[in-house]
Subunit: 246 residues, 4 copies
Amino acid sequence: MSDNRIRVTVWNEYGDGQKKPPVSDVYPEGLHETIAGFLNKDKGITAKTAVLSDPEQGLSEDALNNTDVLVWWGHMNHHLVEDQNVARVVEHVLRGMGVVFLHSAHISKPFKALLGTSGHLSWREADERTRLWAVNPAHPIAEGVPVNFVIDHEEMYSEPFGIPEPQTTVFISWFQGGNVFRSGVTFQRENGRIFYFQPGHETNPTYHNEVVQRVITNAVKWARPCIRSSGPVSVCPNDQEPLEKL
Amino acid sequence: MSDNRIRVTVWNEYGDGQKKPPVSDVYPEGLHETIAGFLNKDKGITAKTAVLSDPEQGLSEDALNNTDVLVWWGHMNHHLVEDQNVARVVEHVLRGMGVVFLHSAHISKPFKALLGTSGHLSWREADERTRLWAVNPAHPIAEGVPVNFVIDHEEMYSEPFGIPEPQTTVFISWFQGGNVFRSGVTFQRENGRIFYFQPGHETNPTYHNEVVQRVITNAVKWARPCIRSSGPVSVCPNDQEPLEKL
Amino acid sequence: MSDNRIRVTVWNEYGDGQKKPPVSDVYPEGLHETIAGFLNKDKGITAKTAVLSDPEQGLSEDALNNTDVLVWWGHMNHHLVEDQNVARVVEHVLRGMGVVFLHSAHISKPFKALLGTSGHLSWREADERTRLWAVNPAHPIAEGVPVNFVIDHEEMYSEPFGIPEPQTTVFISWFQGGNVFRSGVTFQRENGRIFYFQPGHETNPTYHNEVVQRVITNAVKWARPCIRSSGPVSVCPNDQEPLEKL
Amino acid sequence: MSDNRIRVTVWNEYGDGQKKPPVSDVYPEGLHETIAGFLNKDKGITAKTAVLSDPEQGLSEDALNNTDVLVWWGHMNHHLVEDQNVARVVEHVLRGMGVVFLHSAHISKPFKALLGTSGHLSWREADERTRLWAVNPAHPIAEGVPVNFVIDHEEMYSEPFGIPEPQTTVFISWFQGGNVFRSGVTFQRENGRIFYFQPGHETNPTYHNEVVQRVITNAVKWARPCIRSSGPVSVCPNDQEPLEKL
């Protein structure tokens, strides 16, 4: 079978708090199902879901081997993700698997391990208005996205944001309360492409917003691996035989 | 004499509009004199001024040879700067002279020639409030600058900003009217360091603001040349003799 | 008709020197025809050619409007390209047209105008061996390209190379005579993507090399516009009406 | 006392292999003492040493609190550095401490944790000749360094190098056997500046080379903290009170 679709796994911690109001009012089957749902509307993508309570926390070798792009949503249970599973995610990203980190994933273990920083920021839950500006409108992740668009109610995340200088800053957010945030940023770690996108507080209907859906769909396509190593990346081979005569 | 101070030339178009109210109310002797004035308070800096009406538009070979860092303010008269003088500025930057572009210099000829882009943006004159956020507080240009600070009245400049991806984004501005802007960005072009800083509309007292003064003073120190070529940069020497045996 | 192929124009100065031996021995119909020839083997690409002696030097508004990616080869006649045509190329790149600069295009007028630097380097014509290393093997331009490959005879280009810090360094070249060179580098200027690739001296059969062909084909695909402005980029619109209440 | 010197700690694993020939022939008191020795010749620097066998492996809270720039040399004993000490080094870098990683430190635990990559490369011990090219001769780390310089005998490290795209590539190395390597690269992680420098195999007298000494001395000065947080970086404060009226 010649299925060339991008295989996405949408991972969500899906803790108890997500299974009752007010979160379940907005995402009755969990944020992961909403996200996988809109991704699956794209004929070039096939998206599955995984949650923390799955065997091997949904991050088995087999699951990652069959994932082109991992989408990660976590907020309250970062500490419950086991280090061996984090290491496996990192290894697969370095081999080539793409990853899209959403919202509170800025302090998830894989985010911090891949970026090498703390991901710190300051925040405010005031359901305030935010405007996202596409500062690099020619980037593939901004394709078809208005130069600026509004989300009426979101959690505020503010600079300074504890990340390395991004490879590309695609979006910067304005917040009603006076803050700004680099809300859409790209990185590469060895073979793997990384995108972080800020919107998506669990009590706001952000992932039902069509522009947000477009951004995440674009990001999945952008993060698709160009190459993928089959073995561990950390091996340093001895090339004892010179290519040119010494 | 062992004067190790940084030699700054503050260049201003200083058109007729600047010589009468409301501009002259705020900057009685011109923006350039205010800027040179606060720079000269730093014992490591010696600042002169130059204006468009000077011989060779204040940009003679001799003037540039004796300038470590050029500070550029222009708004209405970009088109009057002669191309040969622009070429001379560009050449000196490539050889190592630092340059700090202020406010409307985003569409000055040297800015566009050095960055290779149009510098386009959208703008609004509404004297609105702006907040600058130091998104890279560890950058030398942000030293001693609060993580966020307010300018009560400024011209609004908005993304998307027609610049290359900056080497470092130091400041991002929030505007009351809903816009954001990468307001402090660094670039390097061959040996020369470049900083663009957005605040400084001529009818606002922005350059009297001590935090703004600190930023520009820091920028001058950061932009000081590490090396400076004495001859033209565009020469491509023939190294016909190989370093290693062929 | 739903032709979704990338429209490429391969531009070559094609001076008299190229029309006789030794160049014509290697490229009987000109370098541009060889390059267009292998590009046209890719079913996703349709490539035309243009030369300096064409009307409007092959760079008319109409020609550029119908070009998704421009491939540029020039060496001895950079100075003959008229400034108005250079400005038109730059404008189209800023609007979104991709451009691939080959070999001696490092001192072509459009290259220098877009990068803002002189493109200087040192060089040696000794037909020496060069090895290209894919330092970012996961970049789309390196897809299907060996981690290192040899070109037996090439002109040497050496660091320091007068370019801005690249957005991505894809290839670095080793030269037999002791030199290194960042031989495959990417940039973005507003909407337009830029790739520079070093190999391609006119007396060497470099563009007949299948790996080189693969790199240039990849580069064309990578440089395809994501968006393209229909009008001038240099306009700075007045957004006098704030998005949010002042 | 107003001592404004940069406080450097030169850390070396200093395993048994370093205490006997051939290493002790070249570095009788250990690589760390040689490195600290030439750093201390600079009147702006005061350098101490620390080794793996010290209490808390030489990486105590007190030691790091009193270190402006950490220089790290390790090769065979990376695995012996305890994770809690690695975490402490990373935390201090994020707060602002500079770090210079030498040679085999490319797979040390702090290097990998800060960069988020594996640091993989290929290598050859053939005592071959290497040439370092300053590709960014205007960078402070290249100040006073020739545009190219030779080390007669070194271990070969080859691309592809498993690092993120550097903030700045300062040096690229040519190796006699046909390889190239980005041998001097900078990164920033939150407040901390990072420099990696490739030369320095323990059986070669590389750190006795005056140009190498100049590079490392420059790097220490460049990596000096601009700001340094006194507390943990990973805290995400709640700014519940908006700066502007909602």
